[in-house]
Symmetry: C2
Subunit: 334 residues, 2 copies
């Protein structure tokens, strides 16, 4: 009933060959006679043999697994990215292991180290640390997402945070706003830093002054964003529009505007979110699809793994397209 465990040697015995030949069949080695191959395949089917992935990995020195490392798996953005990569990986027969950094550079190092020790074939990582030199000389394909590699030449799938932010701010300026608040995460995160830089650049390009008091770039949590929004609107000279630099912040800003009944304040958010379209007014967003990012990352990873490129193929930087989705909140006039 429960065939306890079938090993390759059992298959070989059943087929009347050596394990080596059975192994050849398993790995598609062409140097096997037609009928020998057939006998081995029959034995495999009959015994319902499946190779032991652990043993194989130990011997081969590489495991058919891809690792995914992100800030938090619960984060909707990273959850979508992960889901997409898992789909592709499953289709190729690879296992997916996940790990979160909690945004700690130290933990990033620990989990990456763990994955590498497990000889994963490839890793997709949304890095936290400032320097990734320690990953050099790895015999493992790495693709960065969301943030770019420093001190390391690997593929990266990114969005153009800087231009995205400029587009958002330009949109608001075009609709007549001059006092536009910035609500975002700490700018020492690469992504946040670039978005803030884009915000600033667009003001400068438009010949407008920046009121530093309207910049709330210290919102790590949803609640912070809500609180800072209230503070901004309480000012004697409140903003007429808000540029919200990431999804978490949107989750704080939008509710705050609602509870204050200040839906007259224009809003453009960086990153789409599930309910954005159903709020009243619906939220105009700069969309960067996590599914697409996941797909692009997976594609890049498997391409490298397939070895179709020469190994010398230089690191590539892929920009996932961004586009502004006008829904109402961003088109309000002051």
């Amino acid at each position: 009933m429960t065939a306890r465990k079938v090993r390759l040697s059992d298959v070989a015995a059943a087929a009347g060959t050596s394990t080596k030949t059975a192994s050849r069949v398993l790995n598609g080695d062409p140097r096997v006679a037609r009928d020998t191959r057939a006998r081995v395949e029959a034995a495999i089917a009959e015994l319902n043999y499946r190779p032991d992935p652990l043993a194989r990995s130990l011997r081969k020195g590489t495991d058919e697994t891809v690792g995914i490392v992100v800030d938090s798996i619960a984060d909707p953005f990273f959850a979508s990215v992960t889901g997409e990569i898992e789909k592709v990986a499953f289709a190729k027969g690879l296992t997916v292991t996940v790990a979160s950094t909690g945004r700690s550079a130290e933990r990033e190092r620990v989990v990456l180290d763990g994955l590498i020790r497990r000889k994963v074939a490839g890793i997709v990582v949304a890095p936290v640390s400032r320097n990734h030199g320690y990953l050099n000389g790895l015999s493992c394909v790495v693709v960065f997402i969301d943030r770019s590699p420093v001190g390391l030449a690997v593929d990266a799938v990114l969005v153009d945070d800087y231009q995205g932010a400029r587009t958002a701010v330009r949109h608001l300026i075009k609709h007549g706003h001059r006092r536009i608040a910035y609500v975002g995460d700490l700018p020492d995160l690469e992504t946040s830093g670039k978005r803030l830089a884009g915000y600033r650049a667009e003001f400068t390009a438009a010949g407008l002054d920046i009121d530093e008091e309207l910049i709330a770039a210290d919102c790590a949590e949803i609640a912070d964003a809500g609180r800072r929004t209230r503070e901004l609107l309480r000012r004697p000279d409140p903003p007429t529009a808000i540029f919200c630099a990431n999804t978490s912040c949107s989750m704080g800003v939008a509710p705050a505007l609602h509870s204050l009944a200040r839906t007259d304040v224009a809003l453009v958010a960086f990153g789409d979110f599930l309910m954005a379209a159903s709020l009243e007014p619906a939220v105009t967003v700069i969309d960067h699809s996590p599914e697409l990012i996941g797909q692009l990352a997976a594609e890049r990873l498997f391409h490298r793994l397939s070895g179709l490129d020469g190994p010398a193929e230089p690191a590539r930087r892929i920009e996932a397209p961004l586009h502004l989705v006008p829904r109402g909140s961003g088109e309000l006039m002051p």
Copy 2:
């Protein structure tokens, strides 16, 4: 610089012992002399040795990994559950591998099979198939979440879908509603089936008739829920309230109500979602925290793995608490 690869035998050599003794130190075997242990530990530190998890797993026949199998990793509910389990697992030094079923029973079988072949120590699974007998006789700890095991005695962390739905419907009836629509997923999913049963039971208990026309139990996608909501409200005898049986449906129902400006229709949703509190009116929900479910599942899993229970400890059914969070939408009168 990059110490290519340090094996246990290198450590042993450096410490002047056999690999077996080094292994003893590694595994905390008490039968090692004090100074031998010290020497081995020094060698480990000096060579920066880390054991190879694959080799260890192969030999031991079990991998320090927990598998998580859910409908979709991108689903916010499962993403939170997964994130929580990963946190706990990381703290215990275990790796986490994930796989999605896409709600296909066949795929469920395939991914579970894959995990088992990899000799994972434990699995947390949100099952899809109707019978899990094929998992019997496994040397692997399994914990079910969200749906209960059939033909198999394993631990399960569940919510009381039936009572939750009754609570929701009772709440609406108490506020004067008689025509309450049901919008939910297909009832052949255990969870959905129970919620629908709860809906029906509460009507019966209140001595009210059920209008089958108000039951839209065929919404597998967000878009379906939106469409069905519009249909329901277009009826000559529309409902005055909606009970929304899962989060995905809420994502469809709430926007639909908004876009129709029908925020006079009462709404209670099963499952909290990020923006629920910020909609206008805020959405009353039956909350079942995915974080809590993840924690409970992880706790149960690691408890079993620790072997503190006798192996004969009977399967336990754990109910994660549910509670109604009134926020406005559920308290509207007809």
